[in-house]
């Protein structure tokens, strides 16, 4: 556990050194501009715009970091040949992967928390108060973080057996497919035949269901999000991440690094 922690801390330090957190300045500027302009360009939806814009920005910035840095976590270490020095130490390959995953998820957590704080500041500026209904926004931010953790795990899995470019494409492809799981499940057998329909239905349960984490609409309109959904999504993300990381560790352990 100490070894995983050491890798995680160094991954976070590396991200800070690489100026990953500079995106926060961009986010802060977007939220400030939105808070000031929103009253002039929208009718009766100032609060909704702030919440949807803020959550979308948190999600998009987080996804960019999760995919591009997630893919580079393993490949960069191999390219720079620093991985060989690391693995020569008493550090198992799965520990290296777990540490890298934990480090990037921690970076994303810090990043997302800072962006959420900026979002709430903008919301306060527009509404002049914060209420119980705004807890839904906090839950939506948490769901974005769960989604990002899943994306990091997938990016790491692909980067373990393919080139960075292909890993980015696979991760992005799987992410988009995971947003249409409901449609896959709803495809009627009349159109494509019972066999493919059953296969797609089966596939829809295997794909990471990113629709689970989409509560932006509810958060924007201040609708309460059931605590059961929060618990289920947490377990879903943890379980799916664990499966992906186990597969990634298995692939990485067999990989010839010579």
């Amino acid at each position: 556990m100490t070894r995983i922690g050491a890798v995680a801390v160094n991954t976070f330090r590396e991200a800070v050194r690489d100026r990953v957190l500079y995106n926060l300045v961009f986010f802060a500027l977007v939220m400030m501009a939105a808070a000031i302009l929103v009253g002039q360009i929208s009718i009766d939806i100032e609060q909704i715009v702030i919440v949807t814009l803020g959550l979308s920005a948190i999600s998009i910035i987080g996804l960019l970091i999760a995919v591009f840095i997630g893919v580079g976590l393993v490949s960069k270490e191999m390219d720079k040949r620093t991985l060989y020095a690391l693995l020569a130490k008493p550090l198992r390959r799965w520990e290296f992967l777990s540490g890298k995953f934990a480090g990037l998820v921690f970076t994303l957590t810090v990043n997302t928390a800072a962006m959420a704080a900026a979002l709430f500041l903008a919301l306060y500026y527009v509404k002049h108060s914060l209420g119980h209904a705004d807890i839904a926004v906090l839950v939506a931010v948490y769901f974005v973080l769960l989604k990002l953790a899943l994306v990091v795990a997938l990016a790491m899995l692909f980067s373990c057996f393919t080139t960075p470019l292909l890993a980015i494409l696979f991760t992005a492809g799987l992410y988009v497919a995971g947003l249409f799981v409901h449609e896959l499940r709803g495809l009627q057998a009349e159109g494509i035949g019972p066999g493919p329909a059953a296969m797609l239905r089966w596939l829809s349960y295997l794909l990471p269901n990113f629709e689970n984490f989409d509560v932006m609409g509810a958060a924007a309109h201040g609708r309460a999000i059931p605590s059961a959904l929060i618990a289920e999504n947490t377990v879903y993300a943890a379980l799916y991440c664990a499966i992906v990381l186990i597969v990634a560790a298995a692939v990485f352990s067999r990989r010839n690094l010579k």
Binding site: I41, I43, I48, V49, L53, S56, F180, D214, M216, R223
Partner: protein, 297 residues
């Protein structure tokens, strides 16, 4: 070429270059305008496609579309263009992307149904939009109010208007008067008092400037109708006393039936037509609005 000459030529070339860019942009803008209109019509009508392309950011895209609705409507009114054909597809996409976008239902209910040039003149689409809102948000009693409003004023379907008000009144948060309104419309159909009450409520409660202005115009016109009826009643009295209809309102003042020449909400004096009936002054901007909203049969 020495450095001074280089700077001089640079000082000439850069502004000239930007002047060329500025000129070229004008031509590009003209070309783009034609392309954009075509794009709007192709893309905006497919709400399912837009939703699929929005991925999980549909609520944000809905806000952008809603802002586009406001811009589209504002530009059309500013340009006195009565063609509001894109209002329905824009509202359709906005509410498909975010089924809880209440301002879109309230605005759409008013301006899809209102007669041209103020609205799109499509009460059928307004009903479709508001009913979609009710399906997605059954606890929003205001949507039943919007539905009743469309049926009452534009579709002129009083039983359905009464049914909508009655359904909405079942919500514990609804205005108490909605049940009374349902009974009144069911028994009387359209009446000036009901119309005045409904438009006054819209005027008092809406945050949308366009909806507020529309309600104000209707209130001013309803007041003009009421004033004209009262002047006509005084003209009848004048006829009983003098044996003929008054030729102008001044005669009613001279006869002591009026203390002064009455004016409409914009300050223009009412006049009498050749039959001695009161009407809005031809100079009054309200007359044009009256002809649009309440055309003479």
């Amino acid at each position: 070429m020495n450095s001074a000459a280089r700077y001089l030529s640079l000082a000439l070339v850069v502004p000239l270059g930007f002047a060329g860019v500025w000129r070229l942009q004008k031509y590009i803008d003209a070309q783009q305008a034609a392309v954009q209109i075509e794009d709007d019509q192709v893309i905006l009508r497919s709400s399912k496609l837009v939703k699929a392309l929005s991925l999980e950011y549909a609520p944000l895209v809905a806000d952008i579309y809603w802002t586009r609705v406001a811009q589209y409507f504002g530009n059309k009114h500013a340009g006195h263009d009565p063609d509001l054909r894109l209002l329905w597809p824009l509202l359709d996409v906005s509410t498909t992307l975010d089924p809880s976008l209440m301002p879109a239902y309230h605005f759409g209910g008013t301006f899809l149904s209102d007669a041209p040039p103020r609205g799109a003149g499509r009460p059928d689409l307004a009903v479709q939009l508001v009913e979609r809102g009710i399906r997605a948000n059954p606890n929003e009693w205001r949507l039943y109010y919007d539905l009743g409003f469309v049926y009452y004023f534009d579709a002129k379907d009083y039983p359905k208007a009464a049914a909508a008000f009655l359904e909405g009144s079942k919500n514990p948060d609804a205005f108490v008067w909605m049940k009374v309104m349902a009974a009144k419309i069911a028994s009387e159909g359209e009446s000036p008092e009901t119309s005045l009450f409904l438009w006054q409520d819209i005027y008092n409660t809406t945050k949308d400037a366009a909806v507020k202005q529309n309600a104000l115009t209707h209130l001013q016109l309803l007041r003009a109708v009421k004033d004209c009826k009262q002047i006509d009643a005084l003209s009848d009295e004048y006829q009983r006393r003098v044996g003929r209809r008054p030729k102008n309102i001044g005669e009613l003042v001279q006869a002591g039936l009026l203390h002064g020449v009455p004016v409409d909400a914009l300050g223009y004096a009412y006049t009498l037509d050749e039959d001695g009936k009161a009407e809005l002054n031809v100079e009054s901007p309200l007359l044009e609005k009256q002809l649009m909203v309440m055309p003479k049969k």
